[in-house]
Symmetry: C2
Subunit: 337 residues, 2 copies
């Protein structure tokens, strides 16, 4: 089969590799689409989490083409999305059901071969069934939508609350949709790029703010009449961290979703005087079926963020390079065909 094999920083090659053989408890999935995540992009530019050689890609959907022994809930021909997290099932987090904070957390596409290939072998427990009427394009977005929905679910946001979202990339935009679906009465998105500002409005933002053109905190406090209940950080830089905290009403919560690659200078007193809280969300747990259900009902519409569909062979030029340089790209789906 064809696969994009990653060998380390800026080194990825289209190669012919053997189709994996099914083992007991596993199924072979013919990949339809795999989305390019910020993690793939970051990994391509600088090797971090992954072992090499590795097939990257963890936002994966496809059709089952072969089944191992003792697989009982799926059959050949089933349409599935893959929840890529692999956990130890033994650490204290796993035993509490919080497998997203598993001490030995791994993932298809980082530690085990992922979706930038024609086929992927996965355990039955990593499969989630797709409804008949859901396109594979949308199905490829279930994974990032799960990240966003988990963050909204784990946050303090309740129906009627006001929210600010920092960063209009795929996760920020999906958080915007989920916050709207959760009943937020006002959603303000802070984003620099015009294309993403437009997408934010399509995805449910009531207002967008360009922090290069105006004081985001001041504007949020004006628009929300004193501050928002929850700020979501989907940008991950010191400026958004501070703005996120400073945009909150007393008692409000900053929910951090993004990876912060550097420490920030943190003035705790600003937080403490208003009894503000900082919460964090990592990946997801037990939420893929809920995401699919809300997508099916139309409660969350994630179609607008797909900006390109490309072929596996073009993943560097049309995928990684374009995401790094083009201001008009958001989510790019990769098809092995």
């Amino acid at each position: 089969m064809k696969a994009m094999v990653y060998y380390g920083t800026n080194n990825i090659k289209l190669e012919e590799v053997a189709v994996p053989e099914v083992q007991p408890g596993t199924v072979l999935v013919k990949v339809k689409y795999t989305g390019i995540c910020g993690t793939d992009l970051h990994e391509y530019h600088k090797q971090g989490f992954s072992k090499v050689p590795m097939i990257l890609g963890h936002e994966i959907t496809g059709e089952i083409v072969n089944i191992g022994e003792s697989v009982s809930n799926y059959k050949v021909g089933d349409r599935v999305v893959i929840e890529p997290i692999i956990t130890c099932n033994e650490c204290s987090s796993c035993r509490k059901g919080n497998y997203n904070t598993c001490e030995h957390l791994q993932s298809y596409g980082l530690h085990h071969p992922g979706g930038f290939a024609e086929y992927i072998l996965v355990k039955e427990k990593n499969l989630v069934p797709l409804p008949e009427n859901m396109s594979y394009e949308l199905a490829a977005l279930v994974e990032p939508a799960a990240v966003a929905m988990q963050a909204v679910k784990s946050s303090a946001l309740k129906i009627g609350d006001k929210a600010a979202v920092f960063g209009g990339g795929p996760i920020g935009l999906l958080v915007t949709q989920c916050a709207k679906a959760a009943g937020a009465s006002q959603i303000i998105v802070v984003e620099i790029e015009e294309k993403r500002q437009q997408l934010a409005l399509e995805m449910g933002a009531d207002y967008v703010i360009n922090p290069q053109k105006e004081d985001a905190v001041k504007r949020i406090r004006e628009l929300s009449n004193g501050g928002v209940d929850v700020s979501f950080d989907a940008a991950g830089v010191e400026a958004t961290f501070h703005a996120g905290l400073s945009s909150l009403i007393p008692g409000g919560e900053l929910m951090i979703i993004s990876v912060f690659t550097k420490p920030v200078a943190y003035n705790i007193e600003i937080q403490r005087l208003g009894e503000r809280k900082i919460n964090t969300s990592r990946a997801y747990k037990n939420i893929f079926p809920q995401v699919i259900s809300l997508m099916e009902k139309g409660s969350i519409n994630i179609n607008p963020i797909i900006t390109s569909k490309i072929s596996l062979k073009d993943i560097v030029e049309q995928g990684f390079n374009k995401l790094s340089s083009s201001k008009d790209e958001c989510k790019i789906l990769v098809s092995p065909e």
Copy 2:
């Protein structure tokens, strides 16, 4: 009446000033004891929050000696403790009942004359009745105990959980007692001074750790078998902030009570990977009667932290200076007699 009048950094004088005249809705309280708080000490050494000239002291108890018009729930001779917070009753925090984060928060002893005097004039709404059998010495500790109890109440701590307390000053020790009363199954106190370590054991700590002699995080993780559910920061320095976060199990909460006078370098990723939370607590709300009730029942015993009782005239030498220099002092009560 005699009063210690504060004129700014390191400038406080025993003076004869007029006894305040009762106004409608206010009562005159003859002060029995006023505790010296870290805030008083900090204010004495460096003027910060207070207007001057000012009578400091906000941990106040005494007996009502005169009553203004329209005071209906108290009479001369009543024994009371004073909840010193003065709020605007109009801002969004006040309207939600969260008057401890009032935008215009003031306090007796910082913005209005406080307890380092023979008498204090306070509004009826700032009075809380004392039970017959509670000594004035203990009553003077209701205010700091309220700070501690509010932090435990606002934290994620539930019966059976494990807790670490950073800092064995009055607030850390009172948090220790309150965590015990809240049903914590293990309490570990991190404190450098030997006298305060002993007090911590008296106040309910199962273990004390001297962070100058051993790696506090490593030891906490060993003792708690992987981390505590809640860390309380009652020290307020970068080292305790980091240790507090790093001592938590995944999903655990760092509850910040202390004032951080400097920003800290904050590596958010350590928190996010374990979905840890940072919470903050400021002062108290509607909790004095609960504190008094638990003290009366013996559920919290705060007597051990009183290390000295001194006269008003000796407040600098026997109070502020001793707290700054002596390793054996914890809570010092000041009597105007």
